[in-house]
Amino acid sequence: MPLLRVENLKAYYLMDIYGIKRAVRAVDGVSFQVEENSIFGIAGESGCGKTSLIKVLSATFTPPLTVQEGKVIYELGNGGTDILSLDGEHLRKLRWEFFSYVPQGSMNVLNPVRRVRNTFHDFVGAHRVGAPPDFLGDVTEHLGHLGLPPEVLASYPHQLSGGMRQRITLALATILKPRLILADEPTTALDVVVQRGVVQLLKRIQAEQKNTLILVTHDMAVQANLADRLAIMYAGKIVEEAPTAELFGNPLHPYTGYLIGSLPRIGDKAYKVSAPGAPPSLASLPGGCRFHPRCPHAMDVCRTEEPELSDMASGHKLACFLHGQARRG
């Protein structure tokens, strides 16, 4: 039973400043499913729309980002609820207990004028009425799992290092043991040692709590390490999706090939080739397949028609004319 179903989600930034209208199509027709007890990765370059996607999935989007169409259906045990159709209070109850969110750049997500323990009070108290007898003890234990000393509770955020704040954010996101965790670039802006720690941590939390993790990062190495299933996003659309091992072993989309090829390997002295050009502006997209201006295998059809994401064998999905079908209409 898929825990999350996204159906044809379209979310744009609509801007009208001093008379100039722009529509940035950050999420432009995205559909996928995520199973329980798994790690689903979403990878792609900066500016491909992954953060906007996460914002919609966690219902933390604000104007000018608006959902144009589509559904985000969470399986709450009642046949599925589209969270985009929920009103304020229902949505609020779902938050943190059912799904939680670890935002990008967790350096500033803690209220600077509140001690850490009060922040924990805030987040837990919003969903559990009346503190359990040993609330602080539970929190201390939870923090200990993440390698944080109990003194952290009495501190203010500015007294702690970036890595510690990152881990506190993770602790906050997992303390109510949600069924789904949405993590946006949890390892970016951290040094490699801390990165490794965070990766191990995420793996362990998922294994212990048997929940679902949706991991958004451009870092293919992290994806390779963590994700069970990986989706590649480009210019607002998913262009390829497959189990991780399958994707790395047999990348079908040219863009995926570039992403994987950019990973350094110890001892590998081959010349690294990156995809030529730059990702398109989401406000003015090229016609046809969005990747065609940079694609070395571009054919005539690529310039005029957009390929759809369709099934290949063994759970491998692809949106590219290179491998046969995927024609519109």
Binding site: S58, T60, P63, R92, K93, L94, R95, W96, E97, S100, Y101, P103, G105, M107, N108, V109, L110, N111, P112, V113, R114, R115, D122, F123, A126, H127, Y156, H158, Q159, T169, L172
Partner: protein, 334 residues
């Protein structure tokens, strides 16, 4: 450690302010081509009195002593400091032989009361309303409120007071428009007296609040709007925290920090406003005293009020500076 890093610079700045203020007062009074002694003498002779030259000489000398104008420039400067540090500004010309400090002493409580009451009220109201409006962002009521406040905000205190005076003197005579308490009442600690004081203080205080609230509202709304976009507010919302908590503990609590600093910076202007409003409503505070000093050409009194204002404001700023760490843990702890 904290003391050294935070306290000492603030104390130093306190002294700098008083130093700069005193020096400016000294320089600006010496630079003007007018001679207060001559002015005083002219006043008397202009009103038809005649004095023979010897008497004028004598009088001039006395006045010079009275005004602290004897001796070289450096001596006069030192004399000014002496006056400030001993809080002795000589005797008032108008109310001779009452010492200036005594006159100010009886008026000061009224001014301080009016000033602190209206400052705190307008700051609180402006900050809270601004915070709520800033959080609400684009909602209709927030925009309406901001438009209304924007119209009121730039209007000077004097005009607000004048309009209030006209309104309540001629159209809606429900509040007394002069004095601090009803004529003839004794200063006692009873409800009756307190009520009289409150009724008389209402218009001056209201003028100051209306004139001042705009600044706080607009600044706070802008600050709160920025804070609402901050990561920690967004994270709090993602965590499902209640609206009340987000508004109070996450938005306002953070956005009000620059407001506290702003209050310290605005104290000087608030005092100036209070002085003017007192004049409009004949409220027996330092403002009325200043007006009398001006019309009577009472140099000592004017000087005394000016110097004292500088000290009062500098002290107020220092107090607020000392309170600030209570609200911002980033300053309190390293």
């Amino acid at each position: 450690m904290f003391l050294k890093r935070y306290l000492l610079p603030r104390l130093f700045q306190y002294l700098v302010v008083i130093f700069v203020g005193t020096t400016i007062v000294f320089i600006s009074t010496r630079l003007t081509p007018a001679d207060p002694v001559q002015q005083t003498i002219q006043r008397i002779t202009a009103q038809g009195g005649y004095m023979d030259p010897a008497a004028v000489e004598d009088f001039a000398r006395t006045l010079r002593e009275l005004y602290g104008l004897e001796g070289s420039v450096l001596q006069q400067y030192a004399g000014l400091w002496k006056r400030l540090l001993t809080a002795n500004f000589g005797r008032s010309y108008t109310y001779f032989p009452t010492p200036v400090i005594q006159l100010i002493g009886t008026s000061l409580p009224w001014t301080l009361g009016l000033l602190s009451l209206s400052s705190i009220l307008s700051w609180l109201a402006g900050t809270i309303l601004g915070g709520l409006a800033g959080y609400a962002g684009q909602e209709k009521w927030a925009k309406w409120l901001e438009s209304i406040v924007m119209i009121i905000r730039p209007i000077p205190y004097y005009i607000v007071a004048l309009l209030a005076l006209i309104l309540f003197a001629y159209f809606l005579p429900i509040f007394p428009i002069s004095g601090a308490f009803a004529v003839g009442k004794k200063v006692t600690l009873t409800w009756g007296f307190a009520l009289s004081v409150a009724k008389h203080a209402f218009l001056p205080a209201a003028s100051l609040v209306v004139g001042g609230i705009g600044v706080w509202f607009i600044q706070m709304k802008s600050m709160a709007s920025n804070i609402v976009a901050e990561d920690y507010v967004m994270f709090g919302r993602a965590g499902g925290l209640s609206r009340g908590k987000l508004v109070l503990q996450y938005t306002i609590r953070n956005a009000m920090l620059p407001q506290i600093t702003g209050l310290a910076l605005a104290l000087g202007q608030l005092l100036s406003g209070a002085l003017v409003v007192e004049y409009v409503f004949s409220y027996p505070g330092v403002g009325m005293l200043l007006y009398q000093a001006i019309t009577q050409g009472d140099y000592n009194l004017t000087m005394g009020i000016t110097m004292l204002s500088i000290v009062v404001i500098a002290t107020g700023v220092l107090i607020i500076d000392l309170i600030y760490p209570l609200f911002d843990p980033r300053v309190r702890y390293r």
